[in-house]
């Protein structure tokens, strides 16, 4: 329970802390790694690992395929009249079943001040679905802006490597404040105010129904990501991400960390969009030998691809007992 609360607090903006107490197994492992032989072994292993350094993009490729396929499905359904998924990412029908984006549905209900039955059914379906597959996996596996953000991030990193630009990190608490501001604005104005700037809705509608002026806003956001602040929308701003983060906190599908395999090189945190969720990979931050990554994790698999020693991997809670 306390871990869940801590999980939420970190999602809301708190900096992760070193745990006050370690589980006995973790304590033993830390002592072993901290000994003279342990340190020498770590040094040698890191040296070996760097000698045959191979970069994998396995999960990223699957993910990009998924984002393109899902968004293409919406477009083809309409343009070619296949009618498999009708609508946009805000709300749709999948072979006739209602689906509603959790944040969009929440905004509508706060603005309209009615409980809309179809929306409840639609968001219920979506809630169960994303609970099963990991909450913010919506971000990494479906959201079209995420893919654009990744490309912007590559440009950002290339420019930063040349020393032409510098990343300007923000306080993660901004997103929490904005989540409540947009919920409040929906109640007060009676209009889904966030929808006017939501890049998810703007892009999803533009793909299916044609370009709109609102795309300029998305271009502006991407320009900020490239030139000013790395992944600023997804990392610090997007309330949709936080809504799905709540779901992800309870999800059985997650990335788990194994202290035993970790050399604490920090390669995972370098590629991660939400590195605060990977704080346990820092020396002395893992309270146990096996830990799930926090609520903010988008299950994108970048850390798994980046980790040279297999300390991070996908895991489905209870699957081993089921099989």
């Amino acid at each position: 329970m306390s871990r869940l609360i801590e999980n939420f607090l970190i999602m809301f903006g708190k900096e992760p802390q070193k745990p006050a107490t370690l589980a006995p197994a973790a304590q033993a492992m830390v002592a072993e790694q901290g000994s003279k032989e342990g340190k020498a072994l770590r040094k040698r292993l890191i040296f070996d690992e760097r000698a045959h350094d191979a970069v994998s993009h396995r999960w990223r490729n699957w993910r990009w395929l998924s984002i393109v396929a899902v968004n293409l499905l919406f477009v083809v359904s309409f343009r070619a009249d296949v009618q498999l998924v009708e609508g946009a990412l805000t709300a749709s029908r999948f072979v006739g079943f209602h689906m509603a984006d959790l944040n969009s549905a929440l905004q509508v209900m706060l603005a309209y001040k009615h409980v809309v039955v179809n929306l409840l059914i639609g968001s219920g379906t979506v809630l169960v679905m994303w609970w099963l597959v990991g909450g913010r996996s919506f971000c990494a596996w479906v959201c079209p802006y995420h893919l654009l953000g990744e490309i912007a991030e590559m440009i950002h990193l290339a420019l930063a490597a040349k020393g032409w630009i510098k990343d300007h990190p923000l306080h993660r608490g901004v997103r929490t404040v904005l989540w409540f501001v947009f919920a409040g604005l929906a109640i007060v104005t009676g209009y889904t105010v966030f929808e006017t700037i939501s890049p998810v809705g703007i892009l999803s509608r533009a793909f299916t129904y044609g370009a709109s002026l609102a795309l300029l806003w998305v271009a502006l956001l991407l320009a900020i990501e490239v030139f000013y602040s790395r992944r600023f929308w997804c990392r610090y701003i997007c309330p949709i991400g936080m809504t799905y983060g709540f779901v992800g906190a309870f999800s059985p599908t997650r990335v788990v960390y194994r202290l035993e395999n970790c050399l604490h090189e920090g390669k995972c945190r370098d590629v991660c969009m939400v590195p605060h969720a990977l704080s346990m990979t820092k020396i002395g931050y893992a309270g146990d030998v096996k830990l799930p990554i926090g609520a903010d994790c988008t299950r994108c698999g970048m850390c798994i691809d980046a980790c040279p020693t297999g300390a991070l991997e996908f895991d489905i809670l209870g699957l081993d007992k089921l099989l």
């Binding site: 309409f78 009708e86 609508g87 946009a88 805000t90 709300a91 749709s92 029908r93 209602h98 509603a100 969009s104 549905a105 509508v108 603005a111 309209y112 001040k113 009615h114 809309v116 179809n118 929306l119 639609g122 300007h168 990190p169 923000l170 306080h171 608490g173 901004v174 404040v177 904005l178 501001v181 947009f182 604005l185 104005t189 009676g190 209009y191 889904t192 105010v193 966030f194 929808e195 006017t196 700037i197 809705g201 703007i202 509608r205 299916t208 129904y209 709109s212 002026l213 609102a214 300029l216 806003w217 602040s229 600023f232 610090y236 701003i237």
Partner: protein, 256 residues
């Protein structure tokens, strides 16, 4: 709350100074995002432009709050009458509207498909028949332009050969709307607005005088009119002699 006092302190270590910059930067960007969203909301507050909504739409304020901006209504429309609003249009980014002069709703789906498609009831599900919808009311806005009032007939395509608008002509194909340009008319006295009206008893032609040789006639709108705007699309006068008053109701125009 040490960061709060740090914001105003002058003797800070570099690390604290960086932290202060980060907090100020975050507040500025957060404010920028909220202002951007309010900017998107501004055209709606100012009601820049009123638009004809699809059949069954709730009252405007409720409609705007309930609409989830998914475009499912647009997808099911057989004549593609429904379009989605853009940022500066002033009727809601992604919210559906109809421009009847370009393409009016002719109810050729028969069962108000857009209402059935709406996941939020912004197009109210109580509406099950086309006769129940209340989008507005037709009005003869420019009587002097009306061909019937001049005693004239009409020959040719109602809106010219280049017009892309569609209409379902039950006598030609019950199920498939065709281009109006492909359906030329030859009328002794123009009655396009009455002839093609999809609602029974919404509009009729009446002679302008009691003289039995009177050729001039005028369209008269009745209470059954739902304001779909088909007459506005059909009218061969340029600009249309008959138009839809958006969201006008029968009592507004002095009806009982």
């Amino acid at each position: 709350m040490s960061w709060l006092s740090d914001l105003f302190a002058s003797d800070l270590r570099p690390r604290q100074r960086e932290e202060r910059r980060r907090v100020l930067r975050s507040a500025a960007i957060g404010a920028f995002v909220v202002l951007g969203a309010l900017g998107g909301y501004l055209p709606i507050v100012m009601k820049w432009r009123e638009r004809l909504r699809p059949p069954g739409a709730l009252a405007e304020a409720e409609f705007l709050s309930a609409c989830i901006k998914c475009g499912q209504c647009l997808q099911v429309c057989p004549v593609k009458a429904i379009r989605l609003g853009d940022s500066l249009d002033g009727y809601g980014l992604g919210a559906p509207y109809i421009s009847p002069r370009g393409q009016a709703c002719d109810f050729s789906c028969d069962v108000v498909q857009c209402v059935l498609a709406c996941p939020t009831g912004a197009l109210a599900h109580e509406t099950t028949k086309k006769e129940q919808t209340r989008m507005g009311l037709a009005r003869l806005a420019a009587p002097q332009a009306c061909l019937a009032r001049q005693g004239k007939g009409f020959k040719g395509a109602a809106r010219g050969a280049a017009f892309a608008g569609k209409h379902r002509y039950a006598e030609i194909d019950r199920w498939r709307p065709i281009a109006i340009a492909d359906h030329p008319y030859d009328l002794e006295s123009c009655d396009l607005c009455v002839r093609e009206c999809p609602i029974t008893g919404a509009i009729s032609m009446q002679p302008l005088s009691a003289d039995p040789t009177e050729k001039r006639r005028t369209p008269v709108v009745h209470q059954a009119c739902v304001g779909c705007g088909l007459c506005e699309m059909m009218c061969p006068a340029e600009p249309a002699a008959i138009v839809v008053d958006i969201r006008a109701l029968w009592p507004d125009v002095g009806g009982a």
